[in-house]
Amino acid sequence: MKIRHILLILTAILGAALLIAVASQIRDEVLEYQTAQRMVASNTVREQLLLGTDAMASERSQTYVLLIGQRNAASGVMELRDTRRQVDDLLSAAERKIAATQGSLINTSSNLESLSRIRREITALRQQADDYLGPAEGARGEKFAPRWFQEATRLVEELQSSRMTILQRERPLDPILRTEANLRTFGAILSESIARNQALMSRALGNPTDIGALEVNAISQNAGRAELSWELISGQMAASLGESVKKAVSSTHENYSSTFAPLQKTLLAALLGKVPPALGPEEWYESTGRTLSSIALMQQELLGSSRDRLEAELSRAQRLVALWSALLLLGATAVLASILVVRRRVVQPLEGLSQAMLRLADNDLEIPLPRSTRADEIGEMNDALRVFKANAIQRQRTQNEKQVLHARLRDAYGQLQKDLEAAAVIQRTMLPPSSTVEGVEYRGLFRPSSLIAGDTYNVVRRNDGAVGFFQVDVAGHGAPAALVSVACHHALSQAILTRTQGTPLEEIAVHINEEWPEDLPYFTMILGEIDARSRRASIIQAGHPSPLVIRSDGTVEVIGDGGFPIGMIPAASYERVEFDLGPGDRLFVYSDGLVEAEGQDGEQFSEARLRTLVRDTAAEPSSVLLDRLDEVLRNWRGSETLDDDLSVLMLERLAERIPANAVH
């Protein structure tokens, strides 16, 4: 799993968790909002029903007193018409409310049903009452009055119970709302008790002597119910109700207990005691009406308070829903934004960097690096990568330069090597091949330490029959020594050839030594001459190892004990060493590279070993001796290479062939 997946999945999970939490909160808030909405709807419907109930109670009293003929028919009927319209308006309003709140309230159809039935019944009842309200009806109306009262009361009670059903279904959870609902219920009972007595007492006061015990009992019961209602209302007052509500309740109670209750008590006592009451039905009706109005005001206050509370609750729930919805939107935006930011600021740069790193690791230096001016870790990584790339480019450039340089060096070295090889060929061609001249057989061994050597030798036949020879070892080795050796080779060969007969050999050495440029390396040499006619030979030893003479009988002698090298001391003098070189005698001239050749343990081959070897192979021909020497030296060195140039020149005076016709 890549980092980008981990990051994106983590962000998505966090975001989803956040969104789920907020969404569930929103769900709760929506439910609360719906509840509040339902409460408001329920409250509104109940309010309408309560007002409708009150209005219907009022209609009942008005119709009742008209039926018993206590009111002025004309004005009473006018008033009744208004009240009826009011009842109809309120009931149809309640119906509309119920219909409108069908969405939020449950089981409203039964309420609607009962409401329309009540309306049908009240209409029917009104028509019946209207028949008795005509001016001619008089006593018939009075007869109908109790039935009207009973039926109307049943309808009022049905309205009440319809309202209670709704209240039971949508019981508010808020304690104050609940208390207010209770207060309204008790207030409705109170209002209904008083309204019933308004009608019943009016009739009793209109005809006090004709009143039955049953009726008085009903009035007394209603009065008791009113008292009980007040007790219930007082029992609810402990709750923390609004100030205006408390005030309305207490002023209504004040009004009730100071005016209405004593009056009703007195009238009831008069009725019971068959004493003529102190109050006429008209005054009673008016007084009751005022008390009912005051109770209605209290109910209005309660309704208003509940409505305000519910509205506040509804708008609070609405606000919370809006708030949480906004939070949800914000959360969703934040999640989306963080995913985008993670993608843009972390994932994409990381991918870019990782791509670039992989390509760089593959040595792809053409890869463009992601542009970044950021100061965070990604920026740092980017900067570091930039440095890596710069270093890699630098390294590659250096590498390329090195390769170019190396190739150039290789070419130069190859050229040099070729030059040296060519020079080596030339140098070898300068050396005389094995041959015999003037009865002197010679052969050489030549092994440079590198391609070209500071060693050289030559054998020159002079016009006078003498055989001149030399072996040179220029100090140092390699190219400078080789060049000098070539110069020596030429100078000495020329000197031997051009030497005037009788000039001592040492003069050549003296002359060359004097003429030798100081800047050139010095050299050692054996310069010699073999007289073809005598058995004598002579050499100049200039710092060169002393040559050996291998006598024909196998004895070995050392010739000479040293001399100045050429080109070292300008004023040096040289001595000629003369010695016998009879037929079969051999002269063995060598450079110091032979005796100074070091074995693997650093030990030099030494003159002693050379003499032993020469002595041991003295019986062999020169070619065999040199081959043997070469082989022994290779074994001694343990390798094919040499530290110093090595050369050997062997000259042998052959046994004289006496010509057949020679005469001595």
Binding site: S546, D561, I569, A572, D592
Partner: protein
């Protein structure tokens, strides 16, 4: 490769190498030249540790002598074996004053 010891006005230079060959000769020559150019003209060269001198080494030795010029002197002490034989073979025993040891060389130069 060289260690020096000033005895009076005589500089004793001891060669701390076993060989003065082509690989050592240039450095040897340079150090010796430094000593000479520092104003030393009475020099004893102690070769008692040296076992072998090749042609390059000998060339370096002679060039030091030449650089010292006629006013100075370069005495060689402690040359034995192959070194001694080289001096003989190349007649350098006639050019350098050879002494068996440093003390003898210093004494000779002081005299």
């Amino acid at each position: 490769m060289l260690s020096t010891d000033l005895r009076g006005n005589i500089l004793v230079i001891r060669v701390e190498e076993k060989r003065i060959d082509a690989s050592k000769a240039p450095a040897f020559k340079e150090k010796m030249t430094q000593c000479i150019e520092a104003g030393q003209n009475q020099i004893v060269l102690d070769l008692s540790h040296v076992e072998f001198i090749d042609s390059s080494g000998l060339g370096a030795l002679v060039s030091c002598l030449k650089r010292l010029g006629p006013r100075g002197s370069l005495a060689v002490a402690g040359a034995t074996g192959a070194v001694s034989r080289l001096f003989t073979l190349t007649r350098m025993d006639r050019v350098f004053a050879l002494h068996p040891n440093v003390d003898a060389a210093v004494e000779q130069l002081s005299a």
